[in-house]
């Protein structure tokens, strides 16, 4: 095939000028695009209004489709469950018997807990849930890990608020529009969460690896204390996330870091909850959330001494230890 017709307009002056003008427009526009990126380097959540306008347009389609397909992701599990019904029934019955005993023990412990807290004159903070919504789409063609939530400012979701599912932590709100908001997932490398091992108080810092896994750095010097199978929960340090939200499970050790997988997969969770920041006085206010998103430090590195944080007293040993370590950092 010969090459396509040339764009060179020949001797026609008018056509020559118009072609030249079109290139001037294109190059100027490209430079303007570059300028927008330079602005975004200093203010990543700027222009959020433009993006949320786009999100509002696609919201009806996304949320409608989401309701159609929400069952598809788990079809394989249902089929497997049908085939294994018999043997599963027996093992589940056994499990129920064991759990019943544990439940009774747990109820007793809970009662004791309430009594001890009364003795300590602690006021249990109510779990403040702002909104419950679905994740309706995500930045599936970009390297940023953002998911779109079907709730925005009019539902009370503001930038900086933690987002969790029943299974565990999902991330925090990055930008919020009128009825949609973008959630910065745990697996994005700019999302940093202070964690601790659930069994003891070994503290660490979880950073997204952008490929669906997390990197866990230990805060204690020396040998890497984590081992495969460890469950990590939020430590409450920094005041953004409530303590004891399940975060991830360690799958392998890579040198000084551990590689973990989030317990709540954003692709599978049905509903997520938007929560208020754990301690608003410690976490930065929603208005200044752009600093949070650029910061490479722990989500909110404001490690005040525990004396100024009455709410953290119920996890006092853990929190003070963590704070001491973050101050040492």
């Amino acid at each position: 095939m010969a090459r396509p017709p040339s764009r060179r307009p020949g001797q026609n002056r008018k056509a020559q000028y118009s072609l030249f003008a079109s290139y001037v427009v294109a190059v100027t526009g490209a430079l303007a695009g570059l300028l927008l990126i330079i602005i975004a380097m200093f203010d990543p959540t700027g222009f959020a209004a433009i993006r949320s306008a786009g999100a509002e347009i696609t919201r009806p389609a996304s949320s409608g489709l989401k309701e159609l397909v929400s069952g598809i992701g788990t079809v394989d599990e249902r089929i497997a469950a049908f085939y294994r019904a018999g043997s599963q029934n027996v093992s589940l019955r056994r499990q129920v018997d064991i759990n019943r005993t544990r439940l009774i023990e747990a109820a007793a412990i809970e009662q004791e807990n309430v009594r001890l807290k009364k003795l300590l004159k602690l006021v249990e903070e109510e779990k403040d849930e702002v909104a419950t919504a679905r994740l309706i789409s995500s930045s599936s063609s970009s390297t940023r890990r953002l998911a779109r939530l079907n709730a925005g400012r009019s539902q009370g979701a503001y930038p900086g608020m933690p987002v969790r599912a029943p299974e565990g932590l999902i991330g925090r709100i990055y930008t919020a529009g009128p009825n949609t908001s973008d959630v910065l997932l745990l697996t994005d490398s700019s999302n940093v969460v202070p964690v601790r091992r659930s069994t003891d108080n070994i503290a660490g810092i979880s950073t997204g690896a952008d490929d669906g896994s997390l990197q866990i750095k230990s805060l204690s010097a020396g040998r890497n204390p984590f081992k495969p199978g460890d469950i990590l929960v939020t430590s409450g340090t920094g005041g953004l996330y409530q303590p004891n939200i399940p975060v991830a499970i360690v799958v392998r050790i890579a040198g000084d870091d551990a590689v973990a997988v989030p317990l709540a997969s954003p692709a599978r969770v049905e509903m997520v909850m938007v929560q208020r920041p754990f301690e608003e006085s410690l976490a930065r206010s929603p208005g200044t959330s752009k600093q949070q998103s650029t910061g490479r430090q722990p989500a909110a590195p404001v490690a005040l001494p525990p004396a100024t944080a009455p709410n953290s007293a119920n996890t006092a040993p853990a929190t003070s230890a963590d704070n001491a370590v973050s101050v040492a950092q």
């Binding site: 764009r7 696609t58 390297t143 490398s189 692709a267």
Partner: protein
């Protein structure tokens, strides 16, 4: 399926002639609104694939500046920093314009090669811009996406050609 032939005396409307390519590219950009929540960049950039298909199929259809509004729309939809596709797509179209002057013979394979180079340029440029504005990731992360975007190009180009027949027939 081949579209119905033109009826005598009918001409396609101007909106159909000029709007169809623009609307298809915008629909391609809107593929990210599908209810899929993924944990790594796996979806091919359909907006870019459609833009390249139309540009290589119909060189006379667009000037290079068309990538500015289309790129801006793609940025709004994709979650990339604003200006990323705006810049990369425009540079790509200017690049294709200048390549066309150099190449004397053009073939299906040359088109594919040009599209592959454009896809690699745009996706790795997008990664660079995402890194500059607070994100992370390495080339290994987008390598699979690049691979199947390049493999998908001939299919998208074929669909474009089919749509083009419909577009110019009244």
């Amino acid at each position: 399926m081949i579209p119905q032939g033109p009826k005598l005396g009918n001409h396609p409307s101007r909106f159909r002639l000029e709007g169809t390519p623009v609307i298809t590219v915008m629909l391609g950009s809107m593929a990210t609104a599908l209810p899929v929540v993924v944990s790594s960049p796996v979806m091919p950039p359909f907006g870019l694939l459609l833009l390249l298909s139309w540009r290589l199929l119909r060189p006379e259809l667009w000037q290079a500046w068309i990538a500015l509004p289309l790129g801006l729309f793609d940025d709004v939809m994709s979650g990339q920093p604003l200006g990323s596709a705006m810049f990369l797509w425009t540079i790509t179209l200017i690049g294709i314009d200048s390549t066309e002057r150099q190449l004397y013979w053009r073939d299906y394979w040359q088109d594919w090669l040009i599209a592959a180079a454009a896809i690699i340029f745009c996706l790795s440029g997008g990664l660079l811009f995402a890194r500059l504005t607070g994100g992370g990731g390495t080339m290994m992360l987008i390598a699979p996406q690049i691979l199947w975007s390049v493999l998908l190009y001939p299919f998208v180009a074929r669909q474009c050609a089919w749509l083009d027949r419909w577009r110019i027939m009244a």
